[in-house]
Point group: C2
Amino acid sequence: MSNGEDEITAWFARQSRLSKADFPIGIGDDMAEIRLTCDVSVLITTDMLLDSVHFDLEKATLRQVGYKAMAVSLSDCAAMATVPVAAVVSVALPVGFGEKELKELHSGIVSAGDKFNCELIGGDITRWNNDNPFAICVSMLSRSSGDKPLRRSGAKVGDSICITGSLGGSIQKKHLEFEPRVKEAVKIAQMVTINSMIDISDGLSSDLNRICQASQVGAVIDAVKIPISDEASKEADPLSSALNDGEDFELLFTLSQTDCRELFKKWCGLIPVTQIGQITDAKKMQIKMPDGQISDLQPGGYNHLR
Amino acid sequence: MSNGEDEITAWFARQSRLSKADFPIGIGDDMAEIRLTCDVSVLITTDMLLDSVHFDLEKATLRQVGYKAMAVSLSDCAAMATVPVAAVVSVALPVGFGEKELKELHSGIVSAGDKFNCELIGGDITRWNNDNPFAICVSMLSRSSGDKPLRRSGAKVGDSICITGSLGGSIQKKHLEFEPRVKEAVKIAQMVTINSMIDISDGLSSDLNRICQASQVGAVIDAVKIPISDEASKEADPLSSALNDGEDFELLFTLSQTDCRELFKKWCGLIPVTQIGQITDAKKMQIKMPDGQISDLQPGGYNHLR
């Protein structure tokens, strides 16, 4: 979902009269939470991926597409430090897609699910009448790994802002084969207290803005601290690429400075964790540029509605 | 899902190594069941609806489309006599769709959900780059209304075959505004023991075939007993229309003859329930025609893959 859609999503959220008891987390976070009994709840996310928008079937295989569709939802599970349980997958098939294509897609879906013990448990196969493109929708269930799922809305002034991995240039290759940070999210949440978390799907600037909006805080990030991917380094403006490209599917989270030091002491994951800035009370995002100047930072990810 | 897809679905089901303990119902029924703790489980279904396949945006309003998309999944909940809980909705928007269109769609989604206390709790808004049609995917969670969700696979030789409502001609109007039989399903399941149930989405002949296949039984239905809708009555071949049209979204279920008599004694719902035949050990479907002759009956619903 992109920024323009954030506004209509906020409108949808305002229309809903969800009971906090039955639905502790509703519209507007990475997943919604449904309380089934006083001590059992389940979370759900849904993601639609379209040919020529989220992948290009002239370049990507159906196995890659199946993998990516699952990985995007797995990344939503990671964004809340929850544990994936099961997924259902609906597809809209172009004319000419048959058993062979469905089996190739299935192999990609299962290869992603298997990495995280997330079972494919159902689906729906539909078919366009005319020459329209392939679409796939994954809906995934997860369960909390701890007391409560991590949310976007808990960032506190003074928090350190951290990310996993490196950013930018995902379109070159990573967007088709990224590793959802499910294990890292659960591990981090078990080591220290995380105040807010999201996965970077539309770019650091857009997703940090979502944390700021949901938490009613500001942020300042330090340009020289942002880990820029090898792919983004080759771009004309690597920093802009790291800030805005989208589809990094890394974790972005905030925690107290004490917890941040604790995390860096303990962290032994293969994926690096980097502190890139701090939560402020400025009600806007800022960036400290390499020359020391501080500028305002706008969410610069995709914005389909504008 | 149609008959050709039943075969590939069966293949997918064979690939899966779902644990019966964690997933009592997997691929191949109206919903899958996920056991979260020893006594708490949740069910999920997903349905993709496409412009010019499942509705025609030149004739239907977006409110009707939102309603239908939810109603199809609500009908899946009914098919297992489960109680809808919540839904997530993903959409692929054509170029030019904005806030107005999304709000109209939303009103239809919510109007269907509200009827059955099924909350809209999340979604994903995506947008085609080019001039491609609207698609909507609903994934819905439900919970069991009794001991266990009703399945397709429990039909027994000698069972009476019953349906709710009347069949055929749904394309005229009903497919956009049908009432999912959620309340009827729960009521029926509470009154008597139902051995198998499904909703009629692809036509009586196709969906009865699914019960027969899953239960490894045969069936004989009595043509003169099939309640034919007013719309189907105006068709060239009303019986064929009632057998094969699809999108009736009525309930089809089987129960012992004793329970069937009991049900008819007790039933006071507004929607009629009619006995139309019997489960046999013939391993095929048959139909007793109005002239008394018995013919083989083939699943005649849509078959996209062939």
